[in-house]
């Protein structure tokens, strides 16, 4: 990453979490972008997809156009800016073996270009897929209709296994904070209640540790 995209500064370089931040360009405009990657190894038995890198466009944040929402973003998933969806998580667009510098970064650049053209024409110019809203409270009632099956929600047991895999639940706290687009490291109160007792639902989210927006569902999909 450093060689190919030196403008992206490594903010967090831990074993389990990598966070870069810096400018990426659309056609002519620069955007401050944060890329973070919870580096869990793939574990099909858990059906986890939480190891996918995430991209948030922080500044300037993508803006709607004449009442039309910006296409291809994960809504309500970032406190600062917008988390963009620049590849299909259920395809082979990105795999564990792929270098983020060769895939995620140019995907994000292309997304920014598509966004700029969309602002001018109202047309999204890249191949895209729009699933219906995923409901994870009851997997049996999922409204997902796309051809790609979504992973099942992570269970409490799975959360424990993740904790073991990464060594400590503390890492999850850091990830939770990073996931929300915070600039600061977690304070002591962020850790309060962490542990299995802190889980309030049989469906566990890595976002649980961060303050919840009022409208946010208590359990959310981990598919990304």
């Amino acid at each position: 990453m450093k060689a190919q995209h030196p403008q992206l500064r490594l903010l967090v370089g831990g074993r389990d979490l990598l966070v870069w931040e810096g400018p990426l360009r659309g056609f002519s405009k620069q955007y401050t972008v944060r890329i973070f990657w919870h580096r869990f190894p793939p574990d099909d038995s858990l059906r986890l997809k939480i190891s996918s890198p995430r991209v948030i466009v922080i500044d300037p944040a993508p803006q709607s156009l004449d009442g039309m929402a910006v296409p291809h973003i994960y809504r309500n998933s970032a406190r600062v800016g917008e988390r963009i969806c620049c590849w299909d998580p259920s395809s082979d667009d990105w795999n564990w073996e792929d270098a983020i510098a060769d895939t995620v970064v140019p995907y994000a650049e292309q997304w920014l270009c598509s966004y700029e053209i969309w602002r001018a024409t109202g047309i999204w110019s890249a191949p895209g897929r729009h699933p219906e809203i995923i409901t994870c409270e009851n997997p049996a009632q999922s409204t997902e209709t796309s051809s790609h099956a979504q992973p099942a929600p992570i269970t409490a047991a799975g959360f424990v296994k993740v904790g073991r895999l990464i060594g400590t639940f503390a890492s999850s706290a850091l990830m939770a904070v990073a996931s929300e687009g915070f600039y600061r490291w977690p304070r002591s109160r962020d850790w309060k209640g962490i542990g299995f007792k802190g889980v309030r639902s049989p469906h566990v989210s890595i976002w649980l540790l961060a303050p919840q927006p009022a409208a946010l569902s208590p359990s959310v999909s981990l598919a990304a």
């Binding site: 002519s28 309500n76 890249a126």
Partner: protein
């Protein structure tokens, strides 16, 4: 300033890419180019034919103005009408009454009822115009003045509604102006030289011009902008030759089109603002012929000059907007205001389609922050032309709630 690409092999910006596409849209298409050449050659033969009433004094046609320097653009905003300017060399006494010369040329071109141009010809104060479908050929009669510089000529002014006392002879050298323009803008010299050497090859290779000269493209864009400003106004617009003069005078400092347009816009504003502050009209003489006053018919007064000065202020403000927010959206909106909504919309849509096609086909590539994406989308380059360009793997944007 507009963001520059890190790759020194190109300074192309989105503004450049769209401006170049607009320039292509507003100039002679290859089809119209061929038609213009056909018309030009046909009139040349018609005037020189044995039965022509001026055959004994007609010495051929040669291009002048925009045609000579390869800067012809559509003269109307809503359709592809083009004005092609040529000079008819006549071997007559240079003090012949202007009205007599213009009337004789009119009669020669208009011909007898049933002849090819009959009823399609009009007589103007300095030229005779042949109207074609979406094209006009302006033929200016001229008599060489061999004692002066090459092709310095007498041309004739005789407005039909003016008394003969107001008719006059004018010493001009449009051919010399074209040569001076070429020398002042070296990157277009080859094109103009080719045209001047062979007068029967009147229209430069437009695509070649686009590849070679930002000055020439900037001139075309300024002319288009001028046309849009004056589309619904009464009275004369700033002559193309005056714009060409200022472009040539200020050519050479910019390497990319947007910057060139900015430089030319600033230079025009400075010249007109200076004259206006002094309470004077801008006066431009043909550098190849001191007696040839290019501003002799415009601006007629300070009010006319002030209108154009206001247009230049608006142009500068519009270009400022792009410098501050150089996005496709802003470029598209601003270029719509400057050059016409229709042409800007078409160019933006084509840009979008090309980008979409390249994205779907996995033909986009990244080189240091978007350069490859832009060039591929603009259609002005390919991956092979960029050092360090890496193809972007074809992928699918996702979307939805989380």
């Amino acid at each position: 300033m507009v963001t520059r690409f890190a790759d020194s092999s190109s300074t192309l910006t989105i503004a450049d890419a769209l401006l170049r596409k607009i320039a292509v849209k507003i100039q002679l298409s290859p089809t119209n180019y061929g038609i213009a050449v056909d018309h030009y050659e046909a009139v040349d033969k018609f005037l020189g034919r044995e039965a022509s009433p001026i055959a004994h004094v007609f010495d051929g046609l040669y291009p002048q103005g925009s045609m000579a320097i390869g800067a012809t653009i559509a003269s109307r905003l809503k359709n592809d009408e083009f004005d092609i300017d040529v000079v008819a060399k006549l071997k007559i006494a240079r003090d012949t009454a202007p009205a007599t010369v213009l009337d004789a040329l009119f009669d020669a071109v208009n011909g007898q009822p049933g002849s090819i141009y009959h009823g399609k010809v009009s007589r103007n104060s300095r030229c005779v115009t042949v109207d074609y479908d979406r094209m006009h050929l302006d033929i200016t009669p001229a008599v060489r003045m061999p004692e002066l510089d090459e092709r310095t000529s007498t041309i004739f002014h005789a407005h039909e509604n003016e008394p003969p006392a107001n008719h006059r002879h004018i010493v001009a050298n449009p051919w010399g102006f074209a040569r001076w323009f070429a020398e002042s803008t070296p990157e277009v010299s080859n094109i103009v030289e080719a045209v001047l050497r062979k007068s029967t090859d009147p229209v430069p290779d437009q695509e070649h011009a686009l590849e070679k000269s930002v000055s020439l493209i900037a001139l075309q864009l300024l002319k288009r902008w001028r046309n849009k400003c004056y589309d619904s106004r009464e009275g004369r617009a700033p002559p193309s030759v005056v714009l060409a003069y200022f472009v040539a005078m200020n050519s050479g400092s910019a390497r990319d089109l947007f910057t060139e347009l900015r430089v030319q816009s600033n230079a025009l504003y400075a010249s007109f603002a200076h004259a206006h502050r002094e309470g004077k009209l801008v006066a431009v003489h043909n550098p190849a012929c001191a007696t040839d006053v290019l501003t002799d018919r415009w601006p007629a007064d300070l009010a006319a000059q002030r209108i154009f000065l206001g247009d230049l202020e608006n142009l500068s403000a519009a270009l400022d907007q792009i410098e501050q927010d150089p996005t496709v959206e802003t470029c598209s909106n601003v270029f719509g205001e400057l050059f016409g909504e229709s042409v800007s919309r078409v160019v933006t849509e084509e840009f979008q389609k090309r980008f979409a096609d390249n994205a779907a086909g996995g033909r986009l590539f990244s080189a240091g922050g978007g350069l490859g994406i832009e060039l591929a989308a603009s259609g002005l380059s390919s991956a092979q032309q960029l050092s360090g360009a890496a193809p972007i793997r074809r992928h699918t944007d996702f979307g939805g709630e989380e």
